[in-house]
């Protein structure tokens, strides 16, 4: 669609929806400074919880685990998922329909079912639960999402460019690396971003596949919340949002510079 100055009503409405989306986040941030430990009512301003946060060793361990799992699972899933997307977009190979169905299973089944099936599976093959099992599980649900996003981008991809490159003497591999990949890179990056987001915030599947010493941030937050909802959690979220926001701003500046 082309740009068009939207009507006033539409703009007001959209602004309100954004307000709806950001209201809890604002509350979250404000209440991270609340003096009341149980965080039910606002009682006063303090930076105490940020101090508690920085001294919380378990949070640091959980954060490190979360980032590690997210990083590895995103990397592996993006590679496998992109390959799969290319395959499904271009070629008619044996087992095409089966592959497509299997690919979409993790997207359509409820997370609790997938989590439980993975737990049962790991236990049956006697694989100790821990960081490895969580990572393997994250890769499993990330592959389809990456494949989907990349496939969406490939949808309008004109093979003529590839053929031109090959006519000019490049073989398949070189064509892929220097022509195809750079062109679909926005899609691949989108897929990777999605995988990263899904992995960072995953609770249900991680819950079923975690073992000793492999707590992730969502798990830790959940158990903190289960016992005592102190503003420390709000402080954690505020920092998280701040970091993302800063990255976003940098990303935008980088894009402007490129343009």
């Amino acid at each position: 669609m082309s740009e068009k100055k939207p009507s006033l009503w539409l703009r007001i409405y959209s602004f309100m929806v954004y307000g709806f989306i950001y209201a809890p986040i604002l509350i979250l941030i404000i209440f991270s400074f609340n003096t009341q430990k149980l965080n039910v009512r606002w009682e006063g301003f303090t930076l105490e919880w940020y101090k508690v946060l920085f001294n919380d060793a378990q949070i640091f361990l959980a954060t490190r685990n979360t980032l590690l799992i997210a990083f590895i699972s995103t990397l592996v899933a993006t590679i496998i998922g992109t390959m799969a997307a290319l395959a499904m977009h271009r070629y008619r190979f044996p087992l095409y329909n089966t592959s497509e169905t299997v690919m979409y299973i993790p997207i359509v089944i409820p997370e609790v079912v997938m989590g439980i099936s993975l737990l049962v599976f790991f236990v049956m093959i006697n694989f100790t639960l821990g960081l490895t099992t969580i990572t393997l599980s994250h890769i499993a649900f990330n592959i389809p999402f990456v494949a989907l996003v990349v496939r969406a981008r490939l949808h309008g991809y004109d093979r003529a460019i590839d053929e031109a490159a090959m006519d000019l003497g490049a073989n398949e591999l070189v064509t892929f690396w220097r022509v195809t990949l750079p062109t679909i890179m926005p899609g691949v990056l989108s897929g990777a971003m999605l995988a990263l987001t899904l992995s960072l915030d995953d609770y249900v599947i991680t819950y079923f596949t975690a073992g000793p010493g492999s707590t992730t941030l969502p798990l830790r937050v959940f158990s903190m919340v289960k016992t005592a909802v102190t503003p420390e959690i709000n402080a954690l979220s505020t920092i998280w949002v701040l970091i993302i926001f800063v990255l976003l701003v940098f990303g935008q500046i980088a894009q402007r510079k490129k343009a």
Partner: protein, 353 residues
């Protein structure tokens, strides 16, 4: 530009992987699997400093969660903290390592009332960690009149003002006792009647909350409820108008215990840890941080001298120190075996109404 960012990405990734490898090579570790907010970090740090053993503290939010994971075959944990009825199940299923309490020098510090109990005669597998009760809490300024029995809560004046634990055994147990039955009943007729009684209570229930029911009491949204003593104590800390009683029909007593799962990888460290927790200087840290009842008599004596103010408030509030009249009316929760399925169906039905 793209190449540089890809390069940075890889470097960060490598750093993360290396840091993980570096961390995991410690030879002496202890894997603790317990409730969240239950073991003071200071206690763990002291233990590490004393023995040079790193402690991994993983958490669960219910006995069933821990049991389910262990039954499914999850291993690697050295110390767990199951409640009494869970201990009974685990002993029957041979899921615990036997403990020789004669090896625990500090075992004698425990109050004799809390050892050698039904769920683990002779303390062959467990030692008590903390204990408590599950009973009636209310805010005396908000309730129409001070409730004395569970059945008082059925009064329509409590419309939308009750908070209950989201626990089928506790809530059904309460209904069973109101009807005069045993709270651990497996009788189908009795259980069905209990469910019907609960359905009558539904309009009065504001919410079910096993995590932080005290917040509903403190904020005044709820006037009374069925909660753990820990929740009641937390509410009392914020609001001195909070009262905690054992109603005439009865209430629950529970014990949480330290135990070693079968096949634990670091059993020597586990035994050291058990003895460490029984040391009054360490046990006192638990009472200073969490509002439960401490079965360690020596620790309480130490508390009297080290922190008399805390000792007084511990002794004066029924949540932490129930009087004998309170205790006399308590009963433990016992596993109901095959009837568990019936409890679950009835609970599902009750909630769906």
């Amino acid at each position: 530009m793209k190449k540089i960012s890809l390069f940075c990405f890889l470097i960060i990734g490598l750093a993360l992987i290396l840091s993980a490898c570096g961390g995991a090579q410690k030879s002496t570790t202890l894997n603790l699997y317990a409730w969240s907010e239950y073991v003071p970090q200071q206690l763990l740090d002291n233990f590490s400093a004393q023995y040079g053993i790193t402690v991994n503290y993983d958490t669960y939010s219910s006995n069933e969660e821990m049991l389910a994971k262990l039954q499914a075959g999850a291993s690697g944990y050295d110390v767990i903290i199951p409640s009494d009825y869970t201990v009974a199940i685990m002993i029957k299923q041979d899921m615990l390592e036997p403990i020789d309490v004669s090896k625990l020098a500090n075992f004698g510090n425990l109050d004799s009332r809390f050892v050698n109990r039904d769920y683990d005669p002779g303390n062959k597998y467990t030692i008590p960690y903390q204990w408590g009760t599950t009973a009636l809490v209310y805010d005396k300024t908000l309730v129409p009149s001070a409730p004395k029995s569970w059945v008082d809560l059925w009064d329509p004046a409590y419309n939308g003002r009750l908070v209950l634990l989201d626990d089928e055994r506790e809530v059904m147990g309460m209904a069973l006792e109101v009807l005069g039955y045993d709270r651990n009943s497996t009788n189908t007729v009795e259980l069905n009647q209990a469910e019907q009684k609960l359905i009558e209570l539904k309009p009065n229930i504001l919410k079910f909350d096993s995590d932080a029911p005290e917040t509903a009491i403190i904020s005044g949204e709820a006037w009374a409820g069925l909660v753990y003593n820990g929740n009641a104590s937390l509410a009392y800390q914020e609001d001195p108008n909070v009262e905690y009683i054992c109603p005439t029909e009865g209430c629950t007593i529970w014990f949480d215990n330290l135990a070693i799962p079968k096949g634990a990888p670091h059993q020597d460290a586990a035994l050291l840890f058990l003895d460490w927790v029984l040391d009054p200087q360490q046990s006192i840290l638990i009472s200073q941080e969490f509002p439960y009842s401490n079965p360690n008599k020596a620790a309480l004596d130490l508390l009297k001298t080290e922190d008399p103010e805390l000792y007084d408030s511990y002794m004066s509030f029924p949540g932490t120190n129930p009087p004998d009249s309170f205790l006399a009316n308590t009963k433990p929760i016992v596993d109901v075996g095959d009837a568990t399925t019936l409890y679950d169906s009835l609970w599902t039905d009750f909630k769906s109404r």
